[in-house]
């Protein structure tokens, strides 16, 4: 049973159809990439999958493979915070870290749904508050380790370079213990070294059993990390398959990669 089932999803904004009858599935412990030119509907699709937006037609179904007792949920009827609690973690295209907090505290925010101490516990520093705070710190440090930021815990978030900001967003999402991790252009703006580190991290996360769906422009990165690729063009799915198949699909080359892409050697 797949982790994510996108079934005939359409989303219109006024007269524009941003996503048109798109269907695909994401399977457990798989890295799936969605690629396509600017305006192909990638971010719209992402917002549908993280329940920030709702489809006009079709369904987006999610089942958390890491919690076998959980039923499949329809993300069109779910609010974003419920989607997160059900096991969908995400990062954002434009860095959305909490600059006012330390790196560790950023990740602790990701533990929110795992705590129950309320305002009264916080105000009065009840024992529950102390206990949960210790648990949150422990879990947050683990998430930082998994994202390869273990040595940055005490740093102020706003002093991180861009590459580590993306890793911080990943750590923060991992702290929610997601079954499905959505990465929105994680390699955007990164240099080669940072991209390499990101690719390693994403693969390691997949190997831990977390399913990954990512949107990305950086072809080298996509080809290197993905198990499967979905190609969107003008909101429609034009191809799906392994990176190797996508690379040699003539329609994909025309729509996105450019005629000369095949001529040069694939980077990395």
């Amino acid at each position: 049973m797949p982790v994510l089932r996108v079934e005939g999803v359409t989303r219109r904004f006024g007269g524009v159809t941003a996503v048109k009858e798109v269907s695909f599935q994401v399977h457990e412990a798989q890295i799936k990439a969605v690629i396509g030119p600017n305006g192909a509907g990638k971010t719209t699709l992402f917002n549908l999958v993280s329940a920030i937006d709702r489809p006009d037609e079709g369904r987006v179904l999610f089942r958390n493979p890491l919690r076998s007792g959980d039923a499949q949920i329809d993300l069109a009827r779910t609010s974003p915070h419920q989607a997160s609690r059900a096991g969908i973690g995400r990062t954002f295209q434009h860095s959305q870290i909490f600059e006012a907090l330390s790196v560790l505290d950023n990740v602790k925010v990701g533990r929110h749904a795992h705590g129950r101490a309320g305002l009264l516990s916080a105000f009065l520093t009840l024992p529950r508050q102390r206990r949960e705070e210790a648990e949150a710190e422990e879990a947050a440090r683990q998430a930082l380790q998994r994202a390869g930021l273990g040595d940055r815990a005490e740093t102020e978030a706003d002093s991180l370079p861009l590459g580590e900001r993306h890793l911080l967003e990943i750590a923060r999402a991992l702290a929610t213990e997601p079954g499905l991790l959505l990465l929105d252009e994680p390699a955007a703006g990164l240099n080669n070294e940072e991209t390499e580190r990101l690719a390693e991290t994403v693969r390691r996360i997949r190997d831990d059993g977390v399913t990954v769906l990512l949107v990305e422009h950086d072809m080298g990165f996509v080809m290197e990390v993905s198990d499967e690729v979905v190609v969107l063009d003008y909101g429609e799915k034009i191809a799906e398959g392994s990176p190797l198949m996508i690379r040699s699909n003539p329609e994909v080359i025309r729509a996105y990669l450019g005629e000369d892409y095949l001529a040069e050697e694939v980077p990395r």
């Binding site: 920030i52 915070h81 870290i97 006012a100 305002l119 105000f123 705070e133 706003d158």
Partner: protein
């Protein structure tokens, strides 16, 4: 969302790349500092203990009842300012109707004690419950929406409450107000003695201060800071944004209501004109001037709100508002962290040469200031 106080992350790619470069140039790994951190006062227990000690022992050596009354008003003003500091500084929500919650507390206490014969403490409690319920009714629709809806809703709410206080003559005495409100009592002692009242009202204010100081480093506090920065990212981490905004709004309303009750039992007479939009705006201005980056900002803001009119030789509300307007501008330009940030800023500037000296002399003072306001 209205965002005040917190240092804002650079929005957009330009800011981002500049930041990335900035951090590339010389390891700015400073130790972490939470939003309740050392802005102005050393954070944590020591500062609070010292402040409490001073605040509670003042009556031992200060017997002048005029000064004591100013300090009592300071404590009464501190309560709603702490609430606004949390609402505005941590959650990033503006209320322009908090004077109405003070009014609800004051009139709730006044009416329940004089008309229905309740004791002052239960009256204060019931008035606070009423304020909380009213806050829920306003907050549920207003806080669901992103933007300045809460500011608009509370502005309207404040006016409605004021009109009701004036028009419901049978209950509130109309423009004449309510007279003969009984003083608070404690264990058989009437708190008409200004020194006793001082200790009680400051104890209440200090409890609120302690609770607020505890908040930033907790699950709820971090949720507020997160949704202040970006509601979508906060929600994507499992935070129920609407609930947390409503919760802190209700808390700030309750703090204001309790302040109103203390006021009613202290001056023993209340009339509606003091609870208008002027006070609401003054409270927000005070919270901003004091500083929203730290809960201690509320202490600075409330102190200023009470002392400034006294210092301006003759109490004149117009001058006070004018002065506060100017202060908001000056503080926003020169002290973005508010008065609470001033000592740290001055200290920081004085300390900078020692820190920077070990690196280079070429790029001294400017770095710290510029990154704070990116």
């Amino acid at each position: 969302m209205a965002r005040f106080g917190q240092r804002e992350g650079a929005e957009g790619a330009a800011g981002e790349s500049r930041k990335a470069r900035g951090s590339g140039r010389g390891g700015r790994d400073r130790p972490s500092r939470g939003p309740g951190g050392a802005l102005g006062w050393p954070s944590g227990n020591l500062a609070f203990l010292l402040f409490s000690l001073v605040a509670l022992t003042v009556p031992l050596y200060l017997t002048n009842s005029y000064y004591l009354s100013i300090l009592a008003f300071f404590a009464i003003r501190l309560m709603p300012t702490i609430g606004l500091n949390l609402l505005l500084g941590q959650a990033g929500q503006i209320s322009l109707g908090h004077a109405a919650f003070i009014g609800l507390g004051a009139y709730g206490s006044a009416v329940l004690t004089t008309r229905w014969g309740l004791d002052p403490w239960p009256a204060m409690f019931l008035a606070a419950v009423l304020s909380a319920l009213v806050a829920v009714v306003i907050g549920v629709p207003a806080l669901r929406l992103e933007g300045h809806y809460l500011a608009m809703a509370t502005l309207g709410f404040g006016e409605i409450v004021l009109i009701l206080l004036i028009q419901l003559k049978g209950l509130t005495g109309g423009t004449d107000g309510v007279v003969g409100i009984p003083p608070l009592t404690l264990g058989g002692w009437s708190l008409t003695d200004p020194r006793l009242f001082h200790v009680v009202v400051w104890s209440a204010a200090l409890i609120m201060l302690r609770m607020a100081l505890n908040l930033p480093r907790t699950r709820t506090g971090r949720a507020l800071i997160a949704l202040h920065r970006t509601e979508i990212a906060a929600a994507s981490l499992g935070i129920d944004v609407a609930f947390h905004k409503l919760q802190v709004f209700v808390v700030s309303a309750v703090f204001a209501s309790i302040a109103g009750s203390f006021l009613a039992h202290y001056v023993m007479f209340i009339s509606p004109e003091g609870f208008g939009v002027t006070l609401s705006v003054l409270l927000v201005a005070g919270a901003v001037i004091g500083g929203l980056g730290s809960v201690w900002g509320a202490v600075w803001g409330a102190g200023l709100m009470v002392l400034l009119p006294e210092v301006l030789a003759r109490y004149n509300e117009d001058y006070t508002l004018l002065a506060f307007g100017l202060l908001v501008i000056v503080v926003m330009i020169f002290l973005p962290e508010g008065l609470a940030g001033a000592p740290a800023r001055l200290l920081g500037l004085r300390r900078t040469p020692h820190i920077v000296g070990s690196r280079t002399q070429a790029e001294p003072v400017e770095e710290r200031g510029s990154e704070c306001r990116s």
